[in-house]
Symmetry: C2
Subunit: 385 residues, 2 copies
């Protein structure tokens, strides 16, 4: 079950292997002596894990035209274990975790409870193309990829607390996986994201993010592509480039202007804390960032997360603040030229001790209500240098 490949790289050493049940795992090592990848004898996963038989499906919602993923096997997934049983910590003292190494820097592996099945599962069973045989209800196997990215082996750390060199390794991992998954059969969009805090549904506290490779273009991206196409038709210009230029011109919502990146609060921010981070150069995805852009991002990204963590400190809430950080990348295939890489970082916290819930207006009909203004959000984020 062990396939090994070690690729030397300038800064990061990449070592690919497999877990006992066949899932892929990749180490990204940034320090001598390459604690995980170099210590090859630790690569074996001795656990007796049988390959998952889970077969998520997806159905087209006839009322919205959107695919909904059904993954009933996820109901029993690991839920907020203590440090002792954390499956994302290194394997130590005979306790085997998901990472069969005594230490690691950054590691990426296939989720044991994936919402999207891997092509390995696809062969297992077909699903009928229509639910109950009715053309109103198309159905497919939900084939894609769900990966877990561990940002550090330190259980009680956070992404906001990463050193620039470790953040640079995370960026290398995101870029490497984006490149690989974009070339995989059937993948239409690669989404690297982090959910932080129990209020965003996090079931494991160890600092980690996720990568979903969807077999369709997600609804938010579909709408963005439609908007960008209309903008190009009417102006001949690129929507997201015009938007960045407009934010820089207005200046009222800029949080940080760097050499290669700008962070701003969008003019129609829908979350009580929301900030976007965009590279000045129009690139489709993380894989296309050059080394200067990656270097700046490695400092800027954890710093932006720290600003969010401090957002409610003046209300007596010391943080950490729950957030979702999502990298919107250009889709693979049609529409790729219409959009460009941008980060959307937002929190459901609306005040110290209070959350923004998605109630009737948001969840029922899709109208977002925000109890603040984008300019106030930007003002507060700017204060938190």
């Amino acid at each position: 079950m062990l396939a090994r490949m070690t690729e030397p790289r300038a800064l990061v050493r990449i070592t690919r292997t497999r877990l006992a049940d066949g899932r892929a795992l990749t180490y990204y090592d940034d320090r001598e002596p390459y604690v995980s990848g170099a210590a090859t004898r630790t690569l074996d996963d001795p656990r007796d894990l049988s390959p998952s038989q889970a077969l998520p499906t997806m159905r087209l919602d006839v009322l919205t035209g959107e695919w909904v993923v059904l993954a009933p096997h996820r109901m029993g997934r690991t839920h907020l274990p203590g440090t002792r049983g954390c499956p994302l910590c290194p394997s130590r003292d005979g306790a085997m975790t998901e990472i069969p190494a005594r230490d690691y820097d950054v590691v990426v592996f296939d989720n044991r409870f994936p919402a999207l099945g891997s092509p390995l599962h696809a062969a297992a069973a077909a699903v009928p193309p229509l639910v109950d045989g009715d053309p109103l209800w198309p159905q497919r196997q939900a084939i894609g990829r769900c990966e877990v990215v561990c940002f550090t082996s330190e259980h009680d750390s956070s992404c906001a607390g990463l050193t620039p060199s470790r953040a640079a390794t995370v960026i290398e991992a995101w870029a490497d996986r984006t490149r690989a998954l974009s070339g995989a059969d059937g993948v239409r969009q690669v989404f690297c994201f982090e959910n932080r805090g129990a209020e965003t549904g996090v079931t494991l506290h160890h600092p980690h993010g996720q990568i979903y490779a969807y077999p369709f273009v997600p609804p938010r991206t579909e709408r963005l592509l439609a908007r960008a196409a209309a903008h190009r038709d009417s102006t001949g210009a690129d929507l997201l480039s015009d938007l960045l230029a407009a934010e820089l011109r207005a200046g009222t919502r800029i949080v940080h202007r760097g050499a290669a990146w700008t962070a701003y609060v969008p003019a129609a921010a829908r979350w009580p804390v929301e900030v976007h981070l965009v590279p000045h150069r129009a690139v489709p995805d993380l894989a296309a960032l050059d080394s200067a852009e990656r270097r700046e991002l490695a400092t800027l990204y954890p710093a932006l997360l720290r600003r969010v963590d401090g957002f409610f400190a003046d209300q007596g809430d010391p943080g950490p603040v729950p957030y979702v950080a999502g990298w919107h990348q250009a889709p693979v295939g049609p529409g790729r030229h219409l959009t460009r890489l941008h980060l959307q970082l937002f929190s459901v916290r609306r005040a110290a001790g209070k959350l923004k819930y998605l109630a009737g207006s948001e969840s029922g009909v899709g109208v977002w209500l925000n109890d603040t203004t984008p300019e106030r959000i930007a003002h507060r984020l700017r204060e938190l240098t």
Copy 2:
């Protein structure tokens, strides 16, 4: 400030008045001696309330084409007071609440902290049509209506616990307000809904719902209209009528089949508990229901809520279960003929003690993941007769 009008009706007596700050309040009395409306001397609101200066705005999200409502004055709204300070209880013993009557059956009034300003506010101040003068960022006053519907004067009751006769009064109130608001200037959709439980953002526990009258067609409805138009173009038939027929034919997700109404779990349910309730007759909104349909609904609706309350009882969770219940009505104006009345009732609870959070996939890119199947949901709801 008091404008009074009393309309005798067959079952429900409607009395319209105004609160001290000019907000409209309507009593729907279903019992002799018409405890609120008839006791006219209790109609005066002696409070010293100055009219709200709040002026919510809305901005078009350039990335999605959706209006986002900004209502910063809502940040300070009343948050989970005890029974003693409940603003939705009747005014008693000298303690004035939002309802200046010693008792009531059902009452509807303008929200004191509205997300959508009333036309009264519109005259107060104009907002620039573009944020920072840039055509990428259209902006408007958010003019519409936000009303509160108190289902009963009993603070510790619930909508699920309403008697059929009281539920019938609630339906009359919804129908009356839908009719009135549909005729108001600029209103494009009337949405009657209930958020129940702190997990759906409820800030007051007294049994109540809300009515929002939006000045635009909300995103979910826009998508439904596009789907229905495409279905009509390709088949010549009505999407929602075909959908009901298909659910009845398949039978696999039917929860209840009545004389005039059917409840089913949609084939692509996106919430861990979700059920739709539709009248057999194609009607645009609640106001168009005939008396037989209203009578059946008055029994069926609380019974459906009780099924949801019992959903996790077999896991040791006695309820109540948090839910959002939203009445999707046909929009006013263009597209009205493309859709019809249906209720969407769903919960964010995914297991006893566990919630479905909207994390990266849902909040970031709009892809819903459901850890169960529609058929399992329907099976469980059917058990709970």
